[in-house]
Protein backbone atom coordinates (compact mmCIF):
# COMPACT_ATOMS: atom_id res chain seq x y z
CA UNK A 1 0.00 0.00 0.00
CA UNK A 2 0.98 3.64 -0.20
CA UNK A 3 0.01 6.80 1.65
CA UNK A 4 0.61 10.46 0.89
CA UNK A 5 0.41 13.35 3.36
CA UNK A 6 1.43 16.99 3.09
CA UNK A 7 3.77 17.75 5.96
CA UNK A 8 6.63 20.29 6.20
CA UNK A 9 5.31 21.97 3.07
CA UNK A 10 5.74 18.97 0.79
CA UNK A 11 4.07 15.73 -0.16
CA UNK A 12 5.54 12.75 1.66
CA UNK A 13 4.83 9.43 -0.03
CA UNK A 14 5.41 6.22 1.88
CA UNK A 15 5.01 3.01 -0.14
CA UNK A 16 5.26 -0.46 1.38
CA UNK A 17 5.34 -3.67 -0.65
CA UNK A 18 3.08 -6.34 0.72
CA UNK A 19 2.19 -4.56 3.93
CA UNK A 20 0.62 -1.57 5.63
CA UNK A 21 2.19 1.83 6.23
CA UNK A 22 1.88 2.43 9.97
CA UNK A 23 0.40 5.73 11.25
CA UNK A 24 3.51 6.23 13.37
CA UNK A 25 5.52 7.20 10.27
CA UNK A 26 3.35 10.26 9.61
CA UNK A 27 3.11 11.01 13.35
CA UNK A 28 6.89 11.21 13.30
CA UNK A 29 6.99 13.66 10.37
CA UNK A 30 4.37 15.86 12.09
CA UNK A 31 6.46 15.76 15.27
CA UNK A 32 9.56 16.81 13.27
CA UNK A 33 7.57 19.71 11.81
CA UNK A 34 6.54 20.83 15.33
CA UNK A 35 10.17 20.73 16.51
CA UNK A 36 12.02 22.04 13.47
CA UNK A 37 9.70 24.28 11.44
CA UNK A 38 11.03 27.77 10.89
CA UNK A 39 7.48 28.82 9.98
CA UNK A 40 6.06 27.86 13.38
CA UNK A 41 6.92 30.51 15.95
CA UNK A 42 6.82 28.10 18.89
CA UNK A 43 8.98 25.36 17.36
CA UNK A 44 12.23 24.66 19.20
CA UNK A 45 14.24 25.73 16.17
CA UNK A 46 12.38 29.07 15.97
CA UNK A 47 13.10 29.66 19.67
CA UNK A 48 16.77 28.76 19.16
CA UNK A 49 16.95 31.15 16.18
CA UNK A 50 15.42 33.99 18.21
CA UNK A 51 17.89 33.32 21.02
CA UNK A 52 15.14 32.37 23.50
CA UNK A 53 16.40 28.82 23.83
CA UNK A 54 20.10 27.99 24.14
CA UNK A 55 21.13 25.11 21.90
CA UNK A 56 22.46 23.16 24.89
CA UNK A 57 18.99 23.38 26.50
CA UNK A 58 17.20 22.19 23.36
CA UNK A 59 16.11 18.57 22.89
CA UNK A 60 18.79 16.05 21.98
CA UNK A 61 17.39 15.69 18.45
CA UNK A 62 17.69 19.43 17.81
CA UNK A 63 21.21 19.42 19.22
CA UNK A 64 22.11 16.43 17.07
CA UNK A 65 20.79 18.09 13.89
CA UNK A 66 22.77 21.29 14.47
CA UNK A 67 25.91 19.29 15.32
CA UNK A 68 25.62 17.24 12.12
CA UNK A 69 25.00 20.42 10.08
CA UNK A 70 28.25 21.80 11.46
CA UNK A 71 30.11 18.62 10.43
CA UNK A 72 28.57 18.87 6.96
CA UNK A 73 29.69 22.50 6.68
CA UNK A 74 33.28 21.33 7.18
CA UNK A 75 32.91 18.31 4.86
CA UNK A 76 31.56 20.54 2.08
CA UNK A 77 34.18 23.31 2.49
CA UNK A 78 31.44 25.68 3.66
CA UNK A 79 29.16 25.12 0.66
CA UNK A 80 26.47 23.60 2.90
CA UNK A 81 26.13 26.20 5.62
CA UNK A 82 23.03 26.54 7.80
CA UNK A 83 24.39 29.70 9.41
CA UNK A 84 24.56 31.46 6.03
CA UNK A 85 20.80 31.00 5.74
CA UNK A 86 20.02 32.36 9.23
CA UNK A 87 20.65 29.24 11.32
CA UNK A 88 17.98 27.35 9.37
CA UNK A 89 18.62 23.57 9.37
CA UNK A 90 15.64 22.77 7.09
CA UNK A 91 17.97 21.65 4.26
CA UNK A 92 19.19 18.79 6.44
CA UNK A 93 16.07 18.10 8.51
CA UNK A 94 14.07 16.74 5.59
CA UNK A 95 16.55 13.98 4.71
CA UNK A 96 17.41 13.26 8.32
CA UNK A 97 13.74 12.86 9.27
CA UNK A 98 13.35 10.31 6.45
CA UNK A 99 16.42 8.43 7.70
CA UNK A 100 14.89 8.33 11.18
CA UNK A 101 11.53 7.20 9.80
CA UNK A 102 13.14 4.05 8.40
CA UNK A 103 13.57 2.81 11.98
CA UNK A 104 9.78 3.02 12.47
CA UNK A 105 9.12 0.96 9.32
CA UNK A 106 11.84 -1.54 10.25
CA UNK A 107 10.34 -1.96 13.73
CA UNK A 108 6.89 -2.45 12.21
CA UNK A 109 8.31 -5.35 10.21
CA UNK A 110 7.92 -3.72 6.77
CA UNK A 111 10.64 -5.36 4.69
CA UNK A 112 10.43 -3.38 1.46
CA UNK A 113 9.45 0.27 1.42
CA UNK A 114 10.15 3.63 -0.17
CA UNK A 115 9.82 7.11 1.30
CA UNK A 116 9.67 10.04 -1.13
CA UNK A 117 9.80 13.39 0.67
CA UNK A 118 9.36 16.10 -1.94
CA UNK A 119 11.61 14.38 -4.46
CA UNK A 120 14.25 13.08 -2.06
CA UNK A 121 14.00 9.34 -1.64
CA UNK A 122 15.10 6.53 0.59
CA UNK A 123 14.30 2.90 -0.19
CA UNK A 124 14.68 -0.49 1.43
CA UNK A 125 14.59 -3.43 -0.94
CA UNK A 126 15.18 -3.03 -4.69
CA UNK A 127 13.46 -0.06 -6.36
CA UNK A 128 13.60 1.75 -9.70
CA UNK A 129 13.66 5.54 -9.48
CA UNK A 130 13.28 8.14 -12.22
CA UNK A 131 15.18 11.41 -11.83
CA UNK A 132 13.21 14.35 -13.14
CA UNK A 133 14.64 16.13 -16.19
CA UNK A 134 16.02 19.55 -15.15
CA UNK A 135 14.81 21.23 -18.36
CA UNK A 136 11.52 19.41 -18.88
CA UNK A 137 9.48 19.04 -15.71
CA UNK A 138 7.30 16.38 -17.29
CA UNK A 139 10.15 14.11 -18.30
CA UNK A 140 12.78 11.84 -16.80
CA UNK A 141 16.50 12.49 -17.37
CA UNK A 142 17.86 9.32 -15.80
CA UNK A 143 16.67 6.09 -14.28
CA UNK A 144 18.51 4.76 -11.25
CA UNK A 145 17.95 1.53 -9.42
CA UNK A 146 19.28 0.01 -6.26
CA UNK A 147 18.64 -1.50 -2.87
CA UNK A 148 18.73 0.22 0.52
CA UNK A 149 19.59 3.51 -1.11
CA UNK A 150 19.10 7.24 -0.55
CA UNK A 151 18.71 9.52 -3.60
CA UNK A 152 18.76 13.31 -3.21
CA UNK A 153 18.67 15.96 -5.93
CA UNK A 154 19.40 19.66 -5.76
CA UNK A 155 18.77 21.98 -8.66
CA UNK A 156 17.31 25.21 -9.93
CA UNK A 157 14.58 23.85 -12.20
CA UNK A 158 11.70 26.05 -13.19
CA UNK A 159 11.14 27.88 -9.91
CA UNK A 160 14.44 29.69 -10.33
CA UNK A 161 17.59 29.40 -8.31
CA UNK A 162 17.04 28.85 -4.62
CA UNK A 163 20.49 27.55 -3.68
CA UNK A 164 23.26 30.13 -3.42
CA UNK A 165 26.97 29.96 -2.80
CA UNK A 166 27.24 30.84 0.93
CA UNK A 167 30.65 32.45 0.29
CA UNK A 168 29.53 34.89 -2.40
CA UNK A 169 25.72 34.90 -2.26
CA UNK A 170 25.71 34.29 -6.01
CA UNK A 171 23.49 31.78 -7.79
CA UNK A 172 25.44 28.79 -9.10
CA UNK A 173 26.68 29.11 -12.63
CA UNK A 174 26.41 26.65 -15.51
CA UNK A 175 24.79 23.86 -13.51
CA UNK A 176 21.26 22.45 -13.68
CA UNK A 177 21.17 19.75 -11.01
CA UNK A 178 23.18 17.39 -8.85
CA UNK A 179 21.84 14.00 -7.74
CA UNK A 180 23.68 12.21 -4.93
CA UNK A 181 23.12 8.58 -3.91
CA UNK A 182 24.38 6.76 -0.83
CA UNK A 183 23.38 5.18 2.45
CA UNK A 184 22.05 8.25 4.28
CA UNK A 185 19.51 10.76 2.89
CA UNK A 186 20.40 13.69 5.19
CA UNK A 187 24.04 13.48 4.09
CA UNK A 188 23.19 12.86 0.41
CA UNK A 189 20.90 15.92 0.42
CA UNK A 190 23.54 18.15 2.02
CA UNK A 191 26.16 16.95 -0.48
CA UNK A 192 23.78 17.59 -3.41
CA UNK A 193 23.02 21.09 -2.13
CA UNK A 194 26.71 21.84 -1.61
CA UNK A 195 27.77 20.50 -5.01
CA UNK A 196 25.03 22.48 -6.74
CA UNK A 197 26.14 25.66 -4.93
CA UNK A 198 29.71 25.05 -6.13
CA UNK A 199 28.64 25.50 -9.74
CA UNK A 200 29.80 23.82 -12.92
CA UNK A 201 33.49 24.46 -12.41
CA UNK A 202 33.92 22.84 -9.01
CA UNK A 203 31.01 20.45 -8.51
CA UNK A 204 32.02 17.50 -10.75
CA UNK A 205 35.53 17.32 -9.33
CA UNK A 206 34.27 17.55 -5.78
CA UNK A 207 31.71 14.77 -6.26
CA UNK A 208 34.44 12.51 -7.65
CA UNK A 209 36.07 12.59 -4.22
CA UNK A 210 33.06 11.66 -2.06
CA UNK A 211 33.48 8.55 0.08
CA UNK A 212 30.54 6.15 0.08
CA UNK A 213 28.39 8.44 -2.08
CA UNK A 214 27.97 8.66 -5.85
CA UNK A 215 26.80 11.62 -7.88
CA UNK A 216 25.44 12.74 -11.24
CA UNK A 217 25.91 16.39 -12.21
CA UNK A 218 23.91 17.86 -15.09
CA UNK A 219 25.52 20.96 -16.58
CA UNK A 220 23.80 23.76 -18.48
CA UNK A 221 25.69 22.82 -21.65
CA UNK A 222 23.94 19.43 -21.58
CA UNK A 223 26.82 17.36 -20.25
CA UNK A 224 25.96 14.73 -17.63
CA UNK A 225 28.95 13.79 -15.46
CA UNK A 226 28.56 10.75 -13.22
CA UNK A 227 30.92 9.15 -10.75
CA UNK A 228 31.96 5.58 -11.73
CA UNK A 229 29.64 3.89 -9.21
CA UNK A 230 26.50 5.96 -9.88
CA UNK A 231 23.62 3.42 -9.89
CA UNK A 232 22.19 4.11 -13.37
CA UNK A 233 19.65 1.53 -14.46
Amino acid sequence: MHRVEHIMGMPIVVAARGGDVPDEVFDWFRHVDEMFSTFKEESEVSRVRRGELALEDASLKVQHVFARCEELRTETHGFFDVEAVGFDPSGFVKGWSVDEATAILDRAGVEEYAINAGGDIRVRGHWTIGIQHPRDANAIAKVVEGSDLAVATSGAYERGEHVRDPHTGAAPDGILSVTVTGPDLGTADAYATAAFAMGARRAPGWTARLRGYEAMTILADGRVLSTPGFPSA
Binding site: W127, I140, S177, W206
Partner: protein, 139 residues
Protein backbone atom coordinates in the same frame (compact mmCIF):
# COMPACT_ATOMS: atom_id res chain seq x y z
CA UNK B 1 53.89 16.62 -13.78
CA UNK B 2 50.36 15.55 -14.64
CA UNK B 3 51.05 16.52 -18.23
CA UNK B 4 53.40 13.51 -18.44
CA UNK B 5 50.73 11.16 -17.19
CA UNK B 6 48.23 12.44 -19.74
CA UNK B 7 50.78 12.07 -22.55
CA UNK B 8 51.33 8.45 -21.57
CA UNK B 9 47.58 7.84 -21.57
CA UNK B 10 47.33 9.19 -25.10
CA UNK B 11 50.15 7.04 -26.41
CA UNK B 12 48.71 3.74 -25.23
CA UNK B 13 45.59 4.16 -27.31
CA UNK B 14 47.57 4.21 -30.53
CA UNK B 15 47.52 1.03 -32.59
CA UNK B 16 50.95 -0.41 -33.14
CA UNK B 17 51.62 -2.55 -36.20
CA UNK B 18 54.39 -4.79 -34.91
CA UNK B 19 55.40 -6.85 -37.88
CA UNK B 20 54.32 -7.45 -41.39
CA UNK B 21 55.26 -10.07 -43.85
CA UNK B 22 53.96 -12.22 -46.64
CA UNK B 23 50.34 -12.85 -47.60
CA UNK B 24 48.21 -14.37 -44.90
CA UNK B 25 45.67 -17.08 -44.62
CA UNK B 26 44.99 -17.88 -41.00
CA UNK B 27 43.59 -15.25 -38.63
CA UNK B 28 44.09 -15.50 -34.89
CA UNK B 29 42.81 -13.02 -32.28
CA UNK B 30 44.01 -13.04 -28.69
CA UNK B 31 43.05 -10.59 -25.93
CA UNK B 32 44.69 -9.92 -22.59
CA UNK B 33 43.49 -7.44 -19.94
CA UNK B 34 45.97 -6.07 -17.47
CA UNK B 35 46.11 -3.28 -14.94
CA UNK B 36 49.24 -1.20 -14.86
CA UNK B 37 50.12 1.24 -12.13
CA UNK B 38 52.31 4.25 -12.73
CA UNK B 39 54.90 5.45 -10.25
CA UNK B 40 53.95 7.80 -7.46
CA UNK B 41 54.72 11.26 -8.74
CA UNK B 42 54.92 14.49 -6.82
CA UNK B 43 52.47 17.06 -8.14
CA UNK B 44 54.03 20.38 -7.22
CA UNK B 45 52.83 21.46 -3.78
CA UNK B 46 49.77 19.21 -3.87
CA UNK B 47 51.36 15.89 -2.93
CA UNK B 48 51.71 12.45 -4.53
CA UNK B 49 49.63 11.03 -7.34
CA UNK B 50 49.53 7.50 -8.66
CA UNK B 51 47.52 6.50 -11.71
CA UNK B 52 46.43 2.97 -12.58
CA UNK B 53 45.17 1.99 -16.03
CA UNK B 54 43.35 -1.14 -17.08
CA UNK B 55 44.39 -1.96 -20.61
CA UNK B 56 42.86 -4.48 -22.98
CA UNK B 57 45.38 -5.73 -25.51
CA UNK B 58 44.11 -7.38 -28.67
CA UNK B 59 46.64 -9.20 -30.83
CA UNK B 60 45.47 -10.13 -34.31
CA UNK B 61 47.67 -12.47 -36.28
CA UNK B 62 46.99 -12.99 -39.96
CA UNK B 63 49.63 -15.35 -41.29
CA UNK B 64 52.83 -13.75 -40.11
CA UNK B 65 51.34 -10.26 -39.94
CA UNK B 66 50.71 -9.27 -36.37
CA UNK B 67 48.68 -6.23 -35.24
CA UNK B 68 48.50 -5.18 -31.62
CA UNK B 69 45.81 -2.82 -30.37
CA UNK B 70 45.64 -1.53 -26.84
CA UNK B 71 42.61 0.15 -25.36
CA UNK B 72 42.28 1.77 -21.96
CA UNK B 73 39.16 0.39 -20.32
CA UNK B 74 39.48 2.04 -16.91
CA UNK B 75 41.46 4.75 -15.16
CA UNK B 76 41.76 5.00 -11.40
CA UNK B 77 43.80 7.16 -9.07
CA UNK B 78 44.73 5.02 -6.04
CA UNK B 79 46.94 7.75 -4.56
CA UNK B 80 46.03 11.41 -4.71
CA UNK B 81 46.91 14.55 -2.78
CA UNK B 82 45.23 15.13 0.54
CA UNK B 83 45.59 18.86 0.75
CA UNK B 84 43.19 21.24 2.42
CA UNK B 85 43.14 23.64 -0.51
CA UNK B 86 42.94 20.95 -3.11
CA UNK B 87 39.92 21.92 -5.17
CA UNK B 88 41.85 23.29 -8.15
CA UNK B 89 43.93 20.16 -8.35
CA UNK B 90 40.93 17.88 -7.95
CA UNK B 91 39.06 19.59 -10.74
CA UNK B 92 41.90 19.06 -13.17
CA UNK B 93 42.44 15.46 -12.14
CA UNK B 94 39.01 14.09 -11.31
CA UNK B 95 36.92 15.11 -14.28
CA UNK B 96 38.49 12.51 -16.60
CA UNK B 97 37.38 9.84 -14.10
CA UNK B 98 33.72 10.75 -14.45
CA UNK B 99 31.40 9.16 -16.97
CA UNK B 100 30.48 11.71 -19.64
CA UNK B 101 27.09 11.59 -21.32
CA UNK B 102 24.84 14.00 -23.12
CA UNK B 103 21.59 15.01 -21.42
CA UNK B 104 18.64 13.25 -23.00
CA UNK B 105 14.98 12.87 -22.21
CA UNK B 106 14.26 9.31 -21.24
CA UNK B 107 11.00 7.80 -22.36
CA UNK B 108 8.83 7.14 -19.38
CA UNK B 109 9.70 3.66 -18.32
CA UNK B 110 6.98 1.46 -16.83
CA UNK B 111 9.49 0.02 -14.37
CA UNK B 112 9.87 3.39 -12.63
CA UNK B 113 8.27 3.25 -9.20
CA UNK B 114 9.30 6.60 -7.75
CA UNK B 115 10.26 10.01 -9.12
CA UNK B 116 12.99 12.08 -7.53
CA UNK B 117 13.91 15.66 -8.25
CA UNK B 118 15.15 18.92 -6.81
CA UNK B 119 13.50 20.13 -3.65
CA UNK B 120 12.14 23.30 -5.24
CA UNK B 121 10.84 21.56 -8.28
CA UNK B 122 7.21 21.15 -9.12
CA UNK B 123 5.79 18.95 -6.44
CA UNK B 124 2.59 18.72 -8.38
CA UNK B 125 4.29 16.88 -11.19
CA UNK B 126 6.18 14.57 -8.87
CA UNK B 127 3.12 13.82 -6.83
CA UNK B 128 0.92 13.26 -9.80
CA UNK B 129 3.39 11.05 -11.56
CA UNK B 130 4.09 9.20 -8.34
CA UNK B 131 0.41 8.49 -7.82
CA UNK B 132 -0.01 7.43 -11.44
CA UNK B 133 2.89 5.02 -11.09
CA UNK B 134 1.50 3.50 -7.94
CA UNK B 135 -1.90 3.11 -9.56
CA UNK B 136 -0.42 1.63 -12.71
CA UNK B 137 1.15 -1.09 -10.59
CA UNK B 138 -2.32 -2.27 -9.64
CA UNK B 139 -3.53 -2.70 -13.21
Amino acid sequence: MHRKVLAAVGAIAVALPVANAAAAVKKKVATVTKTVTGPQMIADRWGYVEVALTVKKTTTTVGTHKTVKRKITNVTVPVYPNHTDRSVFINQQAIPLLTHEVLTTTQFNPNIELVGGATATSYAFQESLQKAILLAKKI
